[in-house]
């Protein structure tokens, strides 16, 4: 078949990229080869626009066993335990078919984790929808949440934390990011690098169908009016088969049969085989007649590009085929030797005894294009918002408005659809700053949280980048965990747009700076570009997934007030920063201005001091101050508790709105039993952190002296209405 410009374009390749392909091949590719190039060279697999920026992130540290570059990152949590984790986006498929898109997103990230030899122990998700009144939002929300639940519940891994947000910037392009966390033995981690010539390449799992052909290119293309046409590429998830595949793989991993293992994710058989070969500087030869197919008459093109789910590629040690096959037979899964490693450095594809495609591995991997795309810095306007000019409201009105808003309403409508307890190690479920998962049979636990803040990142990407890392770090601290490392999912618009690329570069600068300062390395991640429609790009939405460690785990700390008449301390200084705050957004629809400033030094000191307080058993409950400011933080501590608060009027800021709704960073509220306050104060003083005693807890009533008095039952109602009415 003649390769026309139209065919090239259909494959998401640029004409000069095609010229490059011809040079590398020293000839014209055939259609199969072109398809393979398009899959490997698209943004999703090649990271061509992001690579040079990602390189700057700190990825090393004393806990890091494996940084970015493998299926997932691996950290050391002491003894012989390792934690394996990663986050991934499934934005475009979820917009087209929310249930299956979200479900297969969960399935994909789980495979990334168990491929490395880890048993998954927790799932998280970050989901962003358009405005609630946008006609599509409701069904997308329903579909995505039940898809995430459907997959995780069935396979039996608890979904323990996440975030659910609404913003019209996602009207035409929702975000669905899923994170999986697994536990492995330190000396039993499996990698994708092939080794040795003439080793069996084994296909295991589900059969190959015509699902998702060109899914990876779709993930790297903007939507337009014709996106309906791309619909047939949606894959259907089969969590039952994934459960079998997971158990079978983990069983096979108990001995030393596996040289290399790689899940078939985006670009299926193509990317998995190329990646294994490329890492091992080897070639790979596949006999496509042997690929287990679900449909009749499948072509090599379809087999190589299919994104059927629940499949893996394994390179086995000599002589292990029989024993391995027995395991897969037990679990009723296909197990077929479809090829071998070779020393040619080529990907060689045979079909009906003919070579139907032959491509040098490095042309697909190391020689894939890398772009230093043009980008421009964000110009920010520094205009002050004059509160005096705004319509007058009371503190109570404003609090009610925020607590009942879609973004701040209680999320149990979402989280009740997820099995959070299966595996019986979830010590802290959704609803707190971070979830806590005990390491099975051990007296230690990990804490996990995902966070993002698109508004902050939009208004000032560098600060926004720093802020989300800090917020994520704080969320782990408040439950008493030492933050260890992060994964990140970078959801951005079209990288060919200079502003978008600028947002990307600058957010990464911020992330890098915060991670370096906090000693919080990045061990895995994912980039999703082309989020947007018709040149309207989404707000930059990097999502940070953090993992922390709790040694000597005895009982979970969370944000729910525990006792009557205990003291409440506010750690960190309040300046009253209201720009970009919920207060201005929810009450006045004001979206301008800069996000709050980040002071990494204070961030670190305040956090580490709170950890000391927790270690010394002085903290009854704690919560970080984030969106909505101090008053929202306090309400969240009260609504799920039997206790309210009595807060003194502040001495430092005269404007109560600045004080109570300001979103200054590096702050926490902690509840400390009266008898322990002097001990706690001493620790805080010794560590030179700023703190205020802001009041105490009391029964049932949420109160600010002379300003507001409301029962926590009412607050609870206000906070729990929205989802049920939606």
């Amino acid at each position: 078949m003649e390769i026309s410009n139209q065919i090239i374009e259909k494959h998401g390749l640029k004409i000069d990229e095609y010229e490059n392909i011809k040079k590398l091949l020293k000839r014209e590719p055939n259609l199969l080869e072109l398809g393979i190039f398009s899959a490997m060279w698209n943004e999703h697999c090649s990271y061509k626009s992001s690579r040079i920026h990602l390189k700057k992130l700190p990825t090393k540290g004393k806990h890091v066993i494996q940084g970015p570059g493998e299926n997932a990152g691996v950290i050391d949590i002491g003894d012989d335990d390792a934690i394996v984790f990663k986050i991934e986006s499934h934005n475009h498929p979820s917009y087209i078919e929310p249930y299956q898109g979200a479900a297969t997103g969960v399935g994909g990230i789980l495979r990334d984790v168990f491929t490395m030899g880890a048993r998954p122990i927790a799932l998280l998700n970050s989901i962003h929808f358009g405005a609630p009144d946008h006609p599509k939002t409701k069904s997308l929300l329903n579909g995505v949440v039940s898809g995430i639940g459907g997959y995780g519940n069935c396979i039996g891994i608890p979904t323990v934390a996440g975030e659910t947000k609404f913003n019209e910037t996602y009207n035409e392009n929702i975000l669905v990011n899923a994170m999986a966390v697994g536990h492995a033995k330190k000396n039993k981690i499996f990698y994708s690098k092939a080794k040795g010539v003439n080793k069996s390449v084994v296909y295991v799992g589900s059969k190959t169908g015509r699902d998702g052909i060109h899914g990876a290119s779709m993930a790297s293309a903007e939507f337009d009016e014709n996106s309906e046409e791309k619909k047939p590429t949606v894959q259907v998830g089969d969590p039952f088969t994934e459960k079998l595949l997971m158990e079978a793989c983990l069983e096979l991993m108990r001995d030393n049969s596996i040289i290399s293992i790689q899940d078939m994710g985006a670009a299926g058989l193509t990317s998995s085989s190329v990646e294994m070969a490329s890492k091992g500087s080897l070639g790979i030869e596949l006999e496509l007649d042997k690929v287990p197919c679900r449909e009749e008459n499948m072509t090599p093109y379809e087999m190589m590009l299919s994104e059927s789910q629940e499949r893996m590629l394994i390179i086995l040690e000599d002589g292990k085929e029989k024993a391995a096959k027995k395991i897969f037979d037990k679990w009723d899964l296909d197990f077929v030797v479809i090829g071998k490693t070779v020393n040619t450095n080529n990907l060689t594809l045979k079909f009906h005894n003919k070579v139907v495609g032959e491509i040098p591995i490095d042309a697909l991997a190391t020689k894939a294009p890398i772009y230093d795309r043009k980008w421009i810095r964000k110009k920010t306007k520094k205009e002050k918002i004059d509160l005096k000019k705004l319509r007058k409201i009371t503190i109570e009105e404003s609090l009610v408005k925020i607590l009942s808003s879609p973004n701040h309403s209680n999320k149990s409508w979402v989280t009740n659809q997820y099995d959070q307890m299966v595996m019986c190690d979830t010590a802290q479920k959704s609803g707190s700053d971070a979830a806590i998962i005990r390491v099975h049979n051990k007296d230690k636990a990990i804490a996990v949280s995902v966070d993002s803040s698109a508004n902050y990142c939009k208004s000032h990407p560098i600060t926004g980048g720093k802020l989300i890392v800090c917020e994520n770090w704080r969320n782990l601290i408040t439950v008493g965990a030492k933050p260890i490392a992060i994964t990140n999912c970078l959801n951005f618009g079209n990288p060919e747009n200079e502003e978008v690329m600028g947002e990307f570069a600058e957010c990464l600068e911020g992330i890098k700076e915060a991670c370096e300062f906090l000693n919080y390395p990045v061990v895995s991640g994912n980039v999703s570009f082309y989020n947007g429609t018709n040149k309207k790009n989404i707000y930059p939405t990097p999502v940070i997934g953090g993992v922390g460690l709790i040694n000597n785990f005895l009982k979970p700390i969370n944000h729910i007030l525990k006792k009557e008449n205990s003291s409440l301390f506010l750690i960190g200084k309040t300046f009253g920063h209201l720009e970009q705050s919920c207060f201005l957004k929810e009450n006045y629809q004001i979206f301008d201005g800069m996000p709050p400033e980040v002071n990494l030094l204070n961030e670190k000191n305040n956090g580490e001091t709170l950890l000391k307080l927790i270690k010394n058993n002085l903290v009854l409950s704690s919560h970080d101050v984030s969106n909505g400011g101090l008053i929202v933080t306090l309400s969240e501590m009260a609504v799920l508790s039997e206790y309210g608060v009595k807060i003194k009027k502040p001495k430092i800021l005269t404007n109560l709105f600045n004080y109570f709704f300001g979103e200054d960073q590096a702050r926490y509220v902690v509840e400390i039993e009266k008898k322990n306050t002097s001990k706690a104060e001493k620790i805080m003083k010794d560590n030179d952190i700023y703190f205020e005693n802001i009041g105490y807890t009391q029964k049932e009533i949420f109160e600010i002296e002379g300003e507001l008095k409301i029962s926590i039952k009412d607050l609870f109602k206000i906070n729990n209405e929205w989802y049920n009415k939606y």
């Binding site: 519940n153 069935c154 037990k330 019986c424």
Partner: protein, 225 residues
């Protein structure tokens, strides 16, 4: 006491119940569904999860597996059988328990802690609980909406075969405290001989104070009486 936990492809609470049984001093064995012989056991547990993906109908395909014939034999000779969640669904599919579990009334998966009231504490499974004791216990299911015909329902009531009913914190039984639309708020039932218990809530999730609470402990310790 010796226990066996039957593991189907897609079971996912098998490890959890295994851990709980061992903690409660059972000598436990896991039994893969393809086996044709059951080890000698005082208690057989069919665990929660999504056997065969819950495809077709929850519990239907597991109900046809080889090992189930052995379970039925054991049940008929008086062995104690406990089906939790998917296990309850499987027991109804095999006919060891009557009735069926339909989709939750809101058609959504529900995972949360709910309250149940002990209705019959005069059985092998429940003798350590007080009558009408209220337990806080976790549920996690798509199909927990128990349904049966009126004849059987009358029998359940008359012969005291209802083990647990959903209630609220202080014991009220009404539509509001019924999470899934279950007939008469039924959360668990016995067979005629009371040697088989099927229940939707997960007692194995409630045997560890750090994780949840200890409200499930007595279900297992009762069996030693």
């Amino acid at each position: 006491m010796k226990s066996s936990v039957i593991v189907f492809p897609g079971s996912n609470c098998d490890r959890d119940i295994g851990v709980a049984l061992e903690k409660m001093q059972f000598k436990n064995q896991m039994v893969w569904h393809k086996e044709t012989k059951l080890p000698k056991s005082d208690l057989i547990v069919i665990p929660g999860g999504f056997s065969y993906g819950d495809y077709l109908r929850s519990g239907a395909i597991a109900g046809k597996s080889l090992i189930i014939e052995e379970v039925v034999k054991a049940a008929n000779s008086g062995c104690l059988i406990l089906g939790i969640c998917n296990g309850f669904q499987i027991l109804t599919e095999t006919g060891l328990l009557e009735g069926t579990l339909l989709k939750n009334k809101n058609l959504k998966f529900i995972n949360k802690d709910v309250y149940v009231k002990v209705f019959n504490n005069n059985t092998k499974f429940t003798n350590k609980y007080k009558k009408h004791q209220i337990l806080k216990i976790n549920i996690a299911h798509n199909e927990g909406n128990y349904f049966t015909d009126t004849k059987h329902l009358d029998k359940l009531k008359n012969e005291n075969l209802i083990a647990f009913r959903y209630c609220d914190e202080i014991g009220n039984i009404d539509d509001k405290s019924n999470p899934n639309g279950s007939l008469e708020s039924i959360a668990g039932i016995f067979n005629d001989n009371k040697n088989i218990l099927g229940m939707m809530p997960h007692p194995e999730r409630m045997v560890d104070e750090i994780i949840s609470n200890n409200d499930g402990v007595n279900l297992f310790s009762s069996l030693f009486n």
